[in-house]
Amino acid sequence: MASAFEYAPAPESRSVVDIAPSYGLFIDGEFTEAADGKVFKTVSPSTEEVLSEVAQAGAEDVDRAVRAARKAFQKWSALPGAERAKYLFRIARIIQERSRELAVLETLDNGKPIKETRDADLPLVAAHFFYYAGWADKLDHAGFGANPRPLGVAGQVIPWNFPLLMLAWKIAPALATGNTVVLKPAETTPLSALFFADICRQAGLPKGVVNILPGYGDAGAALVAHPDVNKVAFTGSTAVGKEIARTVAGSRKKLTLELGGKGANIVFDDAPIDQAVEGIVNGIFFNQGQVCCAGSRLLVQESIQDELLDSLKRRLSTLRLGDPMDKNTDIGAINSAEQLARITSLVEQGEAQGAERWSPACELPAAGYWFAPTLFTNVTQAHTIARDEIFGPVLSVLTFRTPDEAVAKANNTPYGLSAGIWTEKGSRILAVANKLRAGVVWSNTFNKFDPTSPFGGYKESGFGREGGRHGLEAYLDV
C-alpha cells in the first residue's frame, strides 16, 4: 500500500496585519479612551495569546457616541443618495484591497480557519457594501413610495461569530438609507470593527457617521436604552433579544432582531447523497457550528439512515482540525472559554439523556478552546440537544418516515431561522419549502449567503429582514 499523503504545514503569514498593543473607542471620527479609562483584553481563541488591549465603553461613552451620530445625521441624511453611494463604494473597494489583512485579523481574533475568512467572510463583506451602495440612489424605486426617509441614529449590537460580516450587514444598509450608526462589537472580537473604523477614515467618511464602541453587555444595554436612538438592530442570543424587546417596548424605536436557531436539514431518500453529505458538513461544521442558521438538526429519511450516516462518518474523518492560520484547516477554535463550556455542558446532557455520541479520531491542541466535530444519533424531539441551540460543532440526527412527518418535526421548535431540503425531485422541494416555518430554506445546498437575499427568522429566531431590498425597510421610516 502507498504511504499517506501528509500535507505539510501551510500557514498564512501573520505579518500582513499590524495589531497595535492598544485601541480606543471610535467616536466622532477619532479614537479615544473610555470615559472611565476601563480597558479589556482580547485573546486569540486558538492560542489564548493576548492580541491587544481595547478601551471598554460605558454608559457615558455611549451617550457621547450617540450625540456624535445625531450631529452627523443632519448632513449625512441630506446628501444625495449618489453621494452616499460613493462613500460606500469606496469602503467596499478598500475592504477588497485590504481583504488579506482583514482575513488574517479575523482569524486571529475569532479562531475560525483562514480558509473561511478568506473565501467566505471577506468576499461577502465587500459584496454587502457594494450591494447597498447600489441602492443608495435608488431608494425611490425600492417599493416604499417616493423619497423614503431614514430613521436617524441606529444603535447596533453584533455577535462574535462573523464579526466583520455582521458589521457589514448592519452598517451598509443603515448608511445607504441615510442613517448614522453607533455599533457595539462583541467583547471577544472587537478588532475587525476597529480596523473598519480605520477604513471609514481612509474612505473620508464624514465624522460621526460611524461610531464603534467595543465593550460588554452593559454597553450594549445602554446603547439600546439610549433615548436618542431611533433604531435598534441586534444579532445574538434569543435571551438577550427578549431583554432588548422589553427595553424598547413602549418607545418609538424601530427594532429588528436576528436571534438563535435550530435549523433542520431534511434529507429525503432520493437525495444526491454525496452532495447531501457535503451540505450536512457545511451546515453544521462551517464556522465550528457557531452559526445562528446552522443545520444543527439532521432529519434523515429512515430508509437511508444507515447509508447516509456511514458516508457522513467517513467524511467527518477527513476534516482537518487545528491551527486556524493553516490554509488547510477545516475546523478552527471555539470562540471563547465560555462558549466552549456551554457546548460541553449541552453535549454532556445529550449523553446523559441517552443519545449516542460519536466523533472522529481527532487530536485537539493543548492550548486554546477546542471541540471535536460531534455527531449524536438516537436523538428524539424530546432531547435537549434536539431543542436547544448548541452553537457549536454538534449535529443531532433524527429520522422521519414521510414528508409530512419531516415537515412536522422540522417545524416543531421555538425557532425558525433556516432549513434545508435535499431531494432530486423539484416538486417536493417546492411543496416542502412552502410548509416550513423558517426564514431561509435552502434546497440541495446549505449556508449559502448573498447580499441580494433577505435573511431573518420566524418565531423566537427574531423578526425583520437583513439583506436584499427587504433589508432597506428596517432603516427607513415606512
Partner: protein
C-alpha cells in the same frame, strides 16, 4: 474482411458476463441493468463542482509538494496519439518515460507510455526491462464508431504486440440511446480480448456524456463489465478531465469497492497540463478514496505536456530556482 474478424472473435462476444457476484443480478437483462443504473443516487452538479473547487484550495507545500510531484510523475501515462507518430517518436517517448529527467537519476519513471496499437511493438522495445508499461488505445479510438469485430481485432493486435494495458472507448452513441446492454456487452468482450495479460481501461468520453448523472451511470456500467480502470476522456474532444468529473468517478470506485470488494482504478486524461492541476487531482484522490489509491496501480494521469511541468517544478524544489523549458527534454 469483416466476416473473417467476426468469425474469429465470435467466441469472445458470447463469453459469459463478468459482473462481481454481489451485483450479478444487475446484468441479468436489459431492464434490470437499466433499473439499476437509473436507481443510482443523483448528482447535484452545483454541489459536486463546489466540493471539487473547495478541495482545489488545499495548499500543498514543501515536503508534501515533493511527495506529490514524484507521485504524479510515477502516475503519468505518457501519451502520443497523433497521425504523425513514427517508431522514432515512440522510441524517444519511451526513453523519456524510463528516465524523465536525464540530469537527475532519482526521478521516478512514469507509469506507462500510451500509443496507438501499431506502435505497441516499438514502444515495448523502447521501455524493455524498465518496468514502464505500454498502454494502447484500441477499439477504433477515439470515436469508437466501428463494428465490434473491428474493435476486437484492434484490441487483439495490441495485446498480441505486447500491450500491458488497453484503453478502450465505450460506444457513446449506444449509451446516449439508452442501450446500456450493448455498451456492457462490448466492454465484457473487450475485457475477454485483453485476456489475463492486459489490464483494461474504459474511456467514457465524459465530455460527450455531458451530464454528471450519465458519468455516474457509465462508471458503474464500466465497473460491472469488468473494467480495471475507468478513464474520463480521449483528450480529443472539447471537455476532457475536470476536477468535478474525476471526483465523481472516485466516488464511484469508492462505493463500488464498498459493495463488491473489487478495487478499480481511475484515470483522468486530457487537459491536465500543470503541476498545480496534477496536485489538485491528487488531493481529490487523497480526500475521497485515500491512500489505497495513491499508487500508479490505481491512479493515472493521461497526459503529454504535464510531465515537463512536473519536472521543472521538481528541479525548482531541488535547486530553489526555476530552470526553464530548455532544461527538460522535448520528445
Amino acid at each position: 474482411m469483416y466476416s473473417r474478424y467476426a468469425r474469429r472473435y465470435a467466441r469472445l462476444v458470447t463469453m459469459p458476463t463478468s459482473a462481481p457476484a454481489a451485483l450479478a443480478d444487475v446484468t441479468a437483462s436489459d431492464s434490470t441493468l437499466r433499473r439499476f443504473l437509473h436507481g443510482l443516487p443523483g448528482v447535484d452538479a452545483v454541489g459536486l463542482e463546489a466540493r471539487a473547487a473547495s478541495l482545489g484550495t488545499r495548499s500543498i507545500k514543501t515536503t508534501a509538494k515533493a511527495y506529490a510531484i514524484d507521485l504524479a510523475i510515477s502516475m503519468v501515462d505518457l501519451t502520443t496519439l497523433e497521425g504523425a507518430d513514427t517508431p522514432g517518436k515512440v522510441r524517444a517517448l519511451g526513453a523519456k518515460a524510463v528516465h524523465p529527467d536525464p540530469t537527475d537519476a532519482s526521478t521516478p519513471s512514469t507509469a506507462a507510455v500510451c500509443v496507438y496499437p501499431d506502435m505497441v511493438a516499438a514502444a515495448k522495445a523502447a521501455v524493455a526491462g524498465s518496468g514502464v508499461k505500454v498502454a494502447s488505445v484500441a477499439t477504433a479510438f477515439p470515436a469508437g464508431r466501428a463494428a465490434l469485430a473491428v474493435k476486437l481485432a484492434d484490441v487483439a493486435d495490441a495485446v498480441a504486440a505486447g500491450a500491458d494495458e488497453i484503453d478502450m472507448v465505450i460506444d457513446r452513441g449506444a449509451f446516449l440511446a439508452g442501450d446500456y446492454m450493448k455498451v456492457y456487452d462490448e466492454i465484457t468482450a473487450v475485457k475477454e480480448a485483453c485476456g489475463t495479460s492486459a489490464r483494461l481501461k474504459v474511456i467514457f468520453e465524459t465530455g460527450e456524456l455531458s451530464t454528471y448523472d450519465n458519468i455516474r451511470r457509465a462508471s458503474w456500467l464500466g465497473m460491472l463489465a469488468g473494467a480495471d480502470f475507468i478513464k474520463t476522456s480521449t483528450g480529443k474532444v472539447a471537455v476532457n478531465a475536470t476536477p468535478a468529473n474525476t471526483l465523481l468517478m472516485l466516488e464511484a470506485v469508492r462505493d463500488f469497492r464498498a459493495q463488491t470488494g473489487v478495487q478499480v482504478g481511475v484515470k483522468p486524461a486530457g487537459g491536465i497540463r500543470t503541476t498545480k492541476d496534477a496536485i489538485k487531482f491528487l488531493v481529490l484522490v487523497n480526500e475521497t478514496v485515500g491512500a489505497d489509491w495513491l499508487d500508479n496501480h490505481w491512479f493515472r494521469f493521461g497526459a503529454s505536456s504535464l510531465l515537463n511541468d512536473l519536472l521543472m517544478q521538481r528541479q525548482k524544489l531541488a535547486t530553489g530556482r526555476y530552470s526553464g523549458p530548455d532544461y527538460v527534454t522535448v520528445d
